[in-house]
């Protein structure tokens, strides 16, 4: 029963926040923080239990013969832990960031609902559950994207919907079709389609539909245009949702699809994994190159997210055990690093109204702590040891090489170089002497600063502690191992 808590608790928080109304600020802060901490506690408890093998699960009958079932397996818990813990941190940041914005009750309410659906996506035990929460995520995120209500936000919101809902429709068609031929498909490491493996034609079409559906949120090239547009949302939304919860749901879906629905062997034998890998590779290059040319800070980070997300898709699509470990670890590492960057971007915009890269000169002296955290995250993203990013990029590259696809190793490495390309300007300009006259020493609001420093430090700590059991890398290894018969990470 506890498996439902990570989903129900945030919903409870969300609803109470709505009911509390706009004025009761203190109560809202209390409810949200308590909810976040409690949910994280529950998730961590589930993790501890899952570590020694006890996988808790429970299901609710939704339609005749169709149940909405959740299961606290290691893979799901990783994503859920990332979403919930970072939710708590983002809340602190958001209280600072939204200090003088309006419609805050609505904002924090939907924020909690988003996390609930993200947890739902993480913990669902079969494709149907994943789809249900996947669509709920779209719904809960829309009001946040259009929060400011300006025309630009509405246009971005509309585009977000076009993509997300058509993705959802493709996913629904795929899921229905799969259920029609293979019955309910619970996630079983190593693939659950043994019985119908014969019907290759249909399975390929279904894979295309499902990959397309997940691809929208995983921002594969062609399906990515909504993400840069969604940057018009307030910083906490871009940080938590468009770097951690929403886009990761798409990537997480890919992992489940390849590892636990089709299974690596079937995916390769059907010949569906290679095209997916190709698309992901193109996305990585596309995202990195376009990111080089973006002057707007958040758009540059958005394109960087597009590229980094496809690390996960490519990692899984290579169908090599080590690469999959790297992909899943990257899911956590990238979340921590990218959220630092978006926090910093948000704090830059909020404190000094800097939204463009060209206006960034000398900000390092003004906001040393923020820019230091940003630097830590950038080094991590570029995959430079000892930061966290390296420890997901290394298994990805080595895994690719191990499975003989050397082109993928070269790709990971070049995109790492490109990452330095689009991140170096931040540090280079930050270190320069302050060009224009700026208020000296105006570091961001403490409620914003502390979360930035915490997640910045986390990008380094996760790297240093990569060896410790319980670190994302080790966690990923245990989560992915069962999907690859006869392969153990040690």
């Amino acid at each position: 029963m506890t498996v439902w808590l990570p989903v129900l608790l945030p919903v409870l928080v969300g609803v109470t926040t709505f009911l509390l109304g706009e004025t009761r600020e203190r109560l809202r802060v209390l409810v949200n923080l308590a909810g976040a901490v409690l949910s994280s506690g529950v998730v961590i408890a589930l993790v501890v239990r899952a570590y020694d093998g006890a996988v808790a699960g429970s299901s609710v009958e939704m339609l005749p013969g169709l149940a909405l079932s959740l299961e606290a397996d290691l893979l799901g818990l990783l994503f859920s832990a990332v979403a919930t813990v970072l939710w708590a941190v983002t809340l602190v940041y958001a209280f600072g960031y939204m200090a003088h914005a309006e419609n805050r009750a609505r904002f924090f309410g939907f924020f909690a609902l988003c996390i609930a659906s993200a947890n739902g996506v993480a913990l669902s035990a079969d494709l149907l559950g994943l789809f249900v929460f996947y669509e709920l995520l779209t719904l809960a995120t829309y009001p946040l994207v259009v929060h400011s209500g300006t025309d630009e936000a509405l246009v971005a919101g509309r585009r977000y919907l076009y993509y997300a809902l058509s993705g959802g429709a493709a996913l629904l068609l795929g899921v229905v079709w799969l259920y029609a031929i293979a019955g309910t498909v619970p996630f079983t490491p190593g693939g659950a389609l043994g019985a119908v493996a014969g019907r290759t034609g249909e399975l390929r079409a279904i894979f295309a539909l499902l990959a397309g559906g997940f691809g929208v949120k995983a921002a594969l090239v062609g399906l990515h245009r909504w993400l840069p547009g969604a940057m018009v949302a307030p910083a906490p939304v871009s940080a938590l949702l468009h770097a951690v919860a929403v886009v990761k749901a798409g990537a997480f879906g890919m992992v489940r699809l390849v590892n636990e629905v089709y299974g690596p062997e079937l995916a390769t034998s059907l010949g569906v994994a290679q095209p997916l890998a190709a698309i992901a590779a193109i996305t990585i290059l596309f995202g990195s190159i376009v990111a080089l040319r973006q002057d707007d800070i958040k758009r540059r980070l958005a394109y960087s997210t597009i590229a980094q997300l496809s690390y996960i898709t490519l990692g899984v699509a290579l169908c090599s055990p080590l690469a999959a470990v790297g992909a899943v670890a990257h899911l956590a590492h990238h979340a921590v690093m990218k959220i630092t960057m978006f926090f910093s971007a948000g704090s830059l915009a909020e404190t000094h109204h800097i939204k463009r890269l060209s206006a960034l000169d000398g900000v390092g002296h003004l906001m040393p702590a923020t820019m230091a955290s940003f630097a830590a995250a950038s080094f991590g993203l570029a995959g430079i040891p000892p930061f966290a990013g390296f420890f997901s990029k290394w298994p990805l590259g080595a895994g690719a090489a191990e499975s003989g696809q050397v082109w993928a190793t070269l790709l990971f490495v070049t995109s790492g170089a490109l990452a330095v390309g689009y991140l170096a300007p931040f540090l280079v300009r930050a270190v320069r002497p302050a060009a224009a006259a700026r208020e000296p020493g105006a570091e961001s609001d403490p409620r914003m600063l502390w979360p930035i420093v915490i997640v910045g430090a986390l990008s380094l700590v996760l790297g240093l502690l990569a060896g410790v059991p319980g670190s994302p890398l080790d966690w990923a290894a245990r989560a992915v191992a069962p999907s690859y018969a006869g392969w153990s990470p040690w």
Partner: protein
Amino acid sequence: MNLVAHLPVIVIMMPLIGASIAFVAGPRRAPLVTVATAVLTIAPVAWLGARVLAEGPTRYEIGGWGGPLGIVLVADGLSAAFLGLVAIVGLGVTLYATGYYRVATGSRPGPGHGLYWTLWLFMWSSLNALLLTGDVFNVYVCLELVGLSAVALVTLAEGAEPLRAAMRYLFASILGAMTYLLGVALLYAATGVLDMRMLADSLGPSVAAETGLALMVAALLLKTALVPMHFWLPTAHAAAPSPVSAALSALVVKGSFFVTLRLFLDVMPAGYLGGADVLIGVLGAVAIVWGSIQALLQERIKLLVAYSTVAQVGYLFLLFPLARHGGEVLSAALLGVLVHALAHAFAKSSMFLAAGVTLKRFGHDRIADLPGTARRAPVIAATFALAGVTMMGLPPSGGFGAKWLIASAALASGEWWWAAVVLVGGLLASAYMFRLLAVFMAAPGGRPLPVGGVRTLRTEWVPLALAAASFLLVLAVPLVTRLAEASAVVAQAGGVVP
């Protein structure tokens, strides 16, 4: 006299008696009588539903005359579900109307010299009669009762537009009713029987019977406003006062659909009318697309919601091409359509009621001039959001359950294109719903701020409750499943195994 045996009759007579008493009691006390009748009708309906679940379909011979002579009332799973729907939405509309009309007309309780309440109870009883009757001619009389009360209720709105809309509606229902009667005449001439069950047994390949049934089905399609015969619905439903349009869209349309369902599933053997059921399916698909596009282009909320009815009705008719396959496909599709009918009724009625309150509070319902409503009237915005989610068929709303079942039935039957239509319909629905929600979420900005208005508890919270019901319907699906299984046709098809 054990009350349980007479439940079907009580369910029909209660609102009829209520209507007469309300009429006699006069305008001031009529609202009270109506609310009392509404509450009193819900009890037998619930009881009847429980009885049907326990003992399966029951037949009630009026006047003790069984056989071809007398009229038999049939209460099975389907009718119990629809009766429940009419009861719940009816209660909601009644409560809303008491608040809505006190606000609107100050002292004078309700338009049309206070006769709104009588007409509304007449419509309720005629709907109950229509859902329970097992006799083809009796259906004609009930259809007339429903049509007449609907037209009368539409005329209660102020201004000339409702009168023209009512006029078109009246002529349409006259044309439909007469065609239906002609069909009955031919059918009776061919088979010599009026009772549906006996018809099912004695239906042979006679040209007259086929022509008769075809005419009857055509008339029913007109009354359910299936595209291209939807011309009367948008103007009528948009012009009517909002409690009336809620009842029209949610209940009246479903009534005639229910009879079509009875004819196709209980009376006619599979494929009896040849390609007719596929033709109806195709018209349903066209309805979904055409209705949604028109809804997307409308400037006013009530017209948008009315055209959305035209579209959503299309889903119901996707059942018929699938019903041919019988067995598992039929039961899954039937359950899907049943869940959709319920979800749509709740969502649609909540939207019309919310539109009514918007009209009252802001003086107009032009979509473009309603910015920032989410901030000014959060309950209305929440209602539209919840109902919208159901219309779009996004999980975990009831709408999603329906779409899932219809789509999986279509895929299981191999005619996958119906599943595609369902999905496209979902996308189109989200197009026009989000257009509305986007305006609600927009910042007021420079545009004129809407005029504030009196907010009463009932008019705000009843629509929200109905919308929530449509959303949480998914939890009631197991109950609806057992109701569907209790229906005669599904029993033959071997229960519901999607």
